[in-house]
Amino acid sequence: MTITPESISQNLPEADVIREDNGYHAFCGLTCVGWLYQKMKDSFFLILGTHTCAHLMQNVLGVMVFAKPRYGVAMIEESDLSAPQIDLTETIKNIVEEHKPSIIFLLNSCTPEIMKVDFEGMAHHHNLQFNNTPVVPVRADGLEYTMTQSEDCVVENLLQFCPVAPAGDKRIVFLGAVNDVNAGELQREAERLGLPVAGFVPSSTIAELPAIGPDTIIAPLQPYLAKSATQYNRQRGAKVLNSLFPIGPDGTRAFFEDLGKLFGKELDLSAREAEIWQNIEPKVAAIRGKRIFVTGDNMLELPIARFLRKCGAEVIECGTPYVNRRFHKRELQALAGQRVVEMPNMHRQIRDIREQKPDLVITNFWQANPFEAEGIATKWSTEIIFTPIYGFSGAGDLANLFSRALNRHRKLNMLDWQEFLPGKN
């Protein structure tokens, strides 16, 4: 991967990364469908899975199917287990007829993985079979993949549908699914700085995917797109920006200043950054001085911890599913001295949290209420994924996620819920 700008020092101190034994809780790769199918409006996500996968999809994201959803589970039943091979021809034919998608993502899951279904071969076969509707394989089994890792697989696979940009077409392609408003804001910000933008991957429709060529600048918005960035570089020779991710005023400033360098512009966004910090000061004030524990399940943890530290919080621990030392280099440098735990052991974390009593725990859906029951304020980690936190304009929403949780606890202080528990009074 071309690491640019070349001037980045490779020898700065970094965060202290400890690796544990993977005893963590994270949703499997299938859950990325929950927002990607809404982002990509002409797609269909077909899961080769079981009844369990269907139950997972309808429960974890709180989404009730009420219209025609653009995802579904081709459900492996008992008779399929002993069948010589799984054939999705009829299923895909029906989807093509009913939904008329421009693209079908075929996701595998644990059961076909254990059955040793030749998944890639199967997708390839169906891809040739339906020549007007590409069928693209996405690895999403819970044996190996967590939600954002599979999002990386989806984004990686979109490259083949991006037109080839000619040499000399030097424009930015933002990499990562963000909502349309947030995308518009990032594009406006770049253009205001005189940086030309080709588009976003993913886009709302396949036809809107930007052209990518040897002079394209790939600007990753999220830390979980390492595989995609590598492939875009390898296959098209595009340059990949290596900077902080545009999360928080500090990250956004570094992101755009580094982008500027790639276009030969020395930008100074210090005033802009200061202005944004000032705007969000009331929210930052609620975070300042607080002790925060990030359990880690979605890969956004490094920039979140960096932002919280900038707000003046102490991050007791920053857990994260995994660290990519090259792709996350700048974030790790910005977290010098920070305790980062890769593949954390959830049970150890629960013990530590009980002992250290942080002011806020950023954690998964599962653990939030039990921690609240122990008097510890929480924030759902998944909510961060659903919030438009990117760029200067996203900084307010980002800070608000944490300040609201903290303020709420302070304001409800007089309400003693424990007194109302059975057996307490």
Partner: protein, 565 residues
């Protein structure tokens, strides 16, 4: 292989987790990929559980699989050491079951003092409820093994209330209230709140109450066979069923006392004894049913769908206590389908048993009932058809854990159900008046529609707006609008129809399946009360299709009306 967009139940491991999460001092260990631990969040988020779900995943991943390592013994040791439960239940999930590991042998190598129970039903055959019920039976069989001296005071076991059960915690309050009135003590509630020691205590009760057919019935029958403890398995939903249930409980206790020479001979107490203040009527349902206002219920046609217990009991109650006509009753419980069909037959015109919600949706679309009593999915379907709906059964939803007392069982439950159903139906009556008096309901239609849309939104705050379901149809319609206009004009001329207006773009919105409604005809359609409107529209359009018309004029609407009488 079948295509699934949504399921009424989870798989076997969800059922196992529900039993473990109901109990005290019990830990579930799943040999599974990390992803299968998603079920934990259902307990803490939907039921707002305060404790960390007592569930551990013994992680199966490609690395350990490749190396031939199984972490199960290690996980069992860890759980035993860190949580010191009375019992560990080990289970598989749909993927790990394919590896056909000998869980029993693996668990033995863990070498722990803790009681370890292996329970591995085939996840491809056994769904959530059946797995939970199977585990309840297995635990009863294994641990309620010793005949005990009966309790001195009459007492009962209550088997069935379970974590994530539909209003189960509130049902339990209602059952306890009635048992209090009868002077009967509760020996054990299982699995909700039970410890392993409680299961062992079950043989000392005089009777067992198992109100849910799919949850706890088999264990109650087992205690009856093994220890001669009578099982009361009827469902006290509805006033008559509750009164019957009270009599059955008394009869069971008297029978047990007689067989065991215990001094006891109970009679049914006065009804007032069951009321909240012991002075009033326990239920206003019977009088309510006779009041003039509720006469309209006799012309209401309802569709009922849910689990076995609620679908059957509510159908029976609606038919016999409200005189509502049941067009169709159904359940997603495939295993009990035959029993359901027989039991529900006297109260309904049709029966449907399926696990595919699309089939239920189609049935509702075909019948267009006045009200739907179903699950969350039927609520969505009903919203599509603009039919009032009330939920009466699992699958569980975050709204099914209300703060106020809303049981389904007993006299209290009967009152609550009728209130709930009445409010569902009332909406229809109010709307009827608005439709009759036109402008009196200024803006009400839009408001109601907006409320419906809001209900249909995905629950998550940050989720994107709903997909407009009609987009494709509108686009398709636009393409053929010109063609239709030509045809319609032609028709109007040829047929000498009353139609004379110009077909403008506003027409597009009322085109359905290439049938065009004239402005006048559409206006007439809108004058029809909303709850019969889709039915009339369907009838007119069906008629037009049969006759080969593509333009629906006011004359045609009247023609259909006349033909229908």
């Amino acid at each position: 292989m079948r295509m699934s967009y949504w399921e009424y139940q989870g798989t076997a491991h969800t059922g196992v987790a529900r039993v473990a999460c109901s109990m005290e001092g019990v830990h579930g260990v799943f040999y599974s990929p990390v992803g299968d631990s998603y079920i934990n969040s259902i307990f803490t988020m939907m039921e707002r559980e305060q404790r960390f779900p007592p569930i551990h995943t013994s992680v199966l991943d490609l690395q350990t699989m490749g190396m031939g390592i199984n972490k199960l013994p290690e996980t069992i040791r860890e759980v035993s050491r860190d949580h010191n439960p009375d019992m560990i239940v080990v289970a598989c999930t749909c993927s790990s079951t394919l590896l056909q590991e000998d869980l029993g042998a693996l668990a033995k190598t863990a070498n722990v003092e803790t009681e370890v129970v292996i329970y591995a039903p085939n996840p491809y055959r056994v769904e959530e409820d059946e797995a939970a019920n199977g585990l309840i039976t297995l635990l009863t069989d294994r641990f309620a093994s010793e005949k005990l001296t009966p309790t001195t005071k009459p007492s009962v076991n209550i088997i069935g209330p379970i974590s994530l059960g539909f209003h189960h915690k509130q049902d339990l309050i209602s059952l306890r209230r009635m048992l209090d009135t009868l002077g009967v003590e509760v020996n054990v509630v299982f699995p909700l709140g039970a410890r392993l020691a409680d299961i062992k205590k079950m043989p000392q009760a005089w009777a067992t109450i198992a109100p849910y057919r799919e949850m706890g019935y088999d264990a109650a029958k087992l205690l009856e066979t093994k220890f001669g403890i009578p099982a009361v398995t009827s469902t006290p939903i509805g006033v008559m069923a509750t009164r019957q249930w009270v009599r059955e409980v008394i009869a069971a206790l008297n029978k047990y006392a007689g067989e065991n020479n215990l001094p006891y001979d109970a009679k049914e107490p006065a009804l007032a004894a069951f009321s909240m203040d012991q002075k009033s009527s326990p239920s206003g349902v019977p009088w309510f049913s006779y009041t003039a206002d509720v006469q309209s219920f006799s012309s209401k046609k309802a569709f009922v769908f849910g689990d076995y217990t609620h679908a059957l009991a509510i159908t029976k109650m609606m038919a016999t206590e409200m005189d509502v006509q049941i067009l169709c009753a159904g359940t997603y419980n495939r295993k009990l389908a035959k029993e359901f069909e027989e039991a529900v037959a006297p109260y309904t015109k049709e029966v449907i048993t399926t696990v595919e919600f699309e089939k239920v949706r189609n049935k509702i679309g075909e019948l267009l009932p006045d009200a739907v009593l179903g699950t969350q999915m039927e609520r969505h379907t009903a919203a599509e058809y603009d039919i009032p709906c009330s939920t009466i059964s699992n699958p569980i939803h975050i709204e099914d854990f209300p703060l106020s007392y809303q049981p389904f069982l007993g006299y209290d439950g009967s009152n609550y159900i009728v209130d709930r159903v009445y409010h569902t139906f009332t909406l229809g009556l109010e709307k009827h008046l608005i439709d009759m008096f036109g402008d009196a309901g200024l803006g009400k239609e839009e408001a109601t529609q907006k409320a419906t849309e809001r209900r249909s939104q995905p629950e998550m705050e940050a989720a994107e707006p709903a997909i407009p379901p009609i987009t494709e149809k509108v686009i398709e319609t636009f393409a053929s609008a010109q063609e239709l206009e030509n045809k319609a004009t032609q028709l109007a001329v040829d047929g000498g129809s009353a139609y004379s207006g110009k077909l403008g773009p506003q027409l597009v919105a009322v085109v359905s399946d290439k049938l065009v409604w004239t402005d006048e005809a559409e206006k007439a359609l809108k004058q029809i009360p909303f709850f019969v409107r889709p039915k009339v529209q369907k009838r007119v359009e069906d008629y037009a299709r049969v006759k080969g018309y593509s333009l629906i004029t006011l004359d045609l609407v009247y023609e259909v009306k006349e033909k229908a009488g």
